[in-house]
């Protein structure tokens, strides 16, 4: 008997993406550039995060036509974003055949209390997290992959670093906790007890955790791998740079060989300028996408 949508099949899909780079694209042409550069998947969306920031208003799941265009342009997996808690956007993306859905704080949340019950779906989900409480709740809801929230569309790596360090530090702490300490930790973090038990047993998260939200250079990507990321999402960093093709290739290579500093230096030398960045302190609390999600 063949079983689809099992936990192993959904989490396993993300395992296959490890050590790779997933790139935001807004059309078929960009998707082909990403595939040729060695991206392991593309994220189809209407605007990259920095443009979402600039445009303001409500950011929704992208036009199904863009998803279809990207799906038919490349053979690598295609992901797409839906709004937090938007059951119908998620079901529509699933019916379009996307390979992974990102329930994403980059879009305007549709529900300010509840996330999607993701284990109801056959398609797997990725979600953002800043700490072990968010990570464990998303896993409890059925997320098959995690990523740092970072601060999308800023080209500033500081928040992704903060979130990766925080989650990994908390995983290490949980790994050595006694069982009675674990229940109080679950209470304090608002985290499901059984997910924390699984983290303790494994000594790591039960799903892969990628870096996202602010990666703008090959050095940024390599830094996140150094800090323990399983792979990297690049949003605005590729197609808002001076030379997207070169940037895409360089970020892929730097992610694979993240400790080969001579190579990364060579890659970085001829790139031209990266996307223009934003200082986090210039963003008000309302402008910070990472505050979305609960």
């Amino acid at each position: 008997m063949q079983q689809t949508g099992t936990e192993r099949v959904k989490r396993g899909m993300a395992e296959m993406q490890k050590g790779g780079v997933i790139m935001d694209v807004v059309n078929a042409e960009q998707a082909k550039v990403a595939e040729a550069a060695g991206a392991v998947a593309v994220m189809a969306l209407e605007r990259v995060p920095s443009d979402i920031r600039a445009a303001g208003g409500v950011a929704r799941a992208c036009d199904p036509r863009i998803v279809e265009e990207v799906v038919s342009a490349v053979s690598i997996p295609v992901m797409a974003k839906c709004r937090i808690g938007h059951i119908t956007e998620a079901r529509v993306l699933e019916s379009l055949g996307v390979d992974y859905i990102d329930e994403s704080e980059v879009l305007t949340p549709a529900d300010e209390v509840f996330h999607l019950k993701k284990d109801d779906y056959t398609v797997p989900f990725v979600c953002g997290c800043r700490n072990i409480g968010e990570a464990a709740r998303r896993i409890g809801e059925g997320a098959s992959m995690l990523r740092t929230k970072g601060e999308p569309g800023t080209g500033n790596i500081v928040e992704a670093v903060r979130h990766m360090r925080m989650v990994n530090q908390e995983v290490r702490q949980i790994s050595v906790m006694s069982d009675d300490e674990l229940m109080t930790e679950a209470k304090n973090q608002g985290a499901p007890y059984d997910v924390l038990q699984e983290i303790k047993r494994l000594g790591k998260l039960p799903v892969v955790n990628f870096a996202a939200g602010g990666v703008a250079t090959p050095q940024d990507a390599a830094l996140m791998m150094e800090l323990g990321a399983d792979g990297v999402f690049v949003g605005s960093g590729v197609f808002k740079s001076e030379n997207p093709e070169k940037f895409a290739k360089a970020i892929v290579e730097a992610t694979t060989h993240y400790q080969d500093y001579e190579l990364i230096g060579r890659l970085a030398k001829e790139l031209g300028s990266a996307m223009k960045g934003i200082d986090i302190n210039q963003l008000s609390l309302e402008e910070r996408m990472q505050e979305r999600g609960w």
Partner: protein
């Protein structure tokens, strides 16, 4: 004799293969550079994205080195695609080690990915097989022995020193496929063809 098994570590599920090789009682090494191929007796090409892996293989000289290499190789999913002589839709196969034609993503998209219990020639127990956007083997030609099927699709083949399967034993706790491959490596090494030191 303890065999040294390399896992091509450019992209994909490397850690899982390392663990299963070690669980078989052999030495596992992640391989990131071509010169590291000299230290091993057999090589595993893991699951991942075959187009991404191929690009990195070209960039760092692996394509050429592996085409010329006599190392026993075991490919899972993307690794199977890399080993095939022909790939549907591509002008030329990647490494051309197994005399087969493969088709990529031939069970459908991720939503169609599945797990199943399989009978495999040469393995006594039922094998749990996890198929993720998996390829299948359209035809197995001279020298390639078919080991398993899903419905009318071939999903596992071997030759004298190459093993290729459509699915992911590395996502399970079972070591049967790794042991099967290591037995092939051992047999090859005992015959005196080892390129290891």
């Amino acid at each position: 004799m303890v065999m040294r098994i390399g896992i091509l570590a450019l992209q994909g599920a490397v850690r899982e293969h390392l663990k299963l090789v070690e669980a078989c009682g052999h030495e596992a090494l992640p391989i990131k550079r071509v010169d590291e191929l000299e230290q091993i007796d057999g090589l595993i090409l893991p699951g991942g994205e075959s187009t991404a892996m191929r690009r990195l293989m070209d960039r760092y000289g692996f394509t050429e080195a592996l085409r010329a290499s006599d190392l026993p190789m075991f490919g899972t999913c993307a690794g199977l695609i890399l080993l095939a002589e022909n790939v549907v839709g591509l002008e030329e196969g990647h490494l051309g080690k197994l005399n087969i034609t493969v088709e990529r993503n031939s069970f459908g998209r991720q939503i169609d990915s599945f797990e199943a219990e399989l009978d495999v020639e040469g393995i006594d127990e039922k094998a749990t097989a996890i198929f993720i956007r998996a390829p299948h083997i359209v035809s197995a030609d001279t020298g390639a022995e078919v080991l398993s099927w899903v419905d009318d699709k071939i999903v596992a083949v071997r030759s004298d020193r190459h093993l290729g399967i459509s699915f992911h034993p590395e996502l399970t706790d079972s070591t049967v496929f790794h042991q099967f491959f290591i037995d092939m490596v051992q047999k090859y090494a005992e015959a005196g063809f080892s390129v290891g030191t």
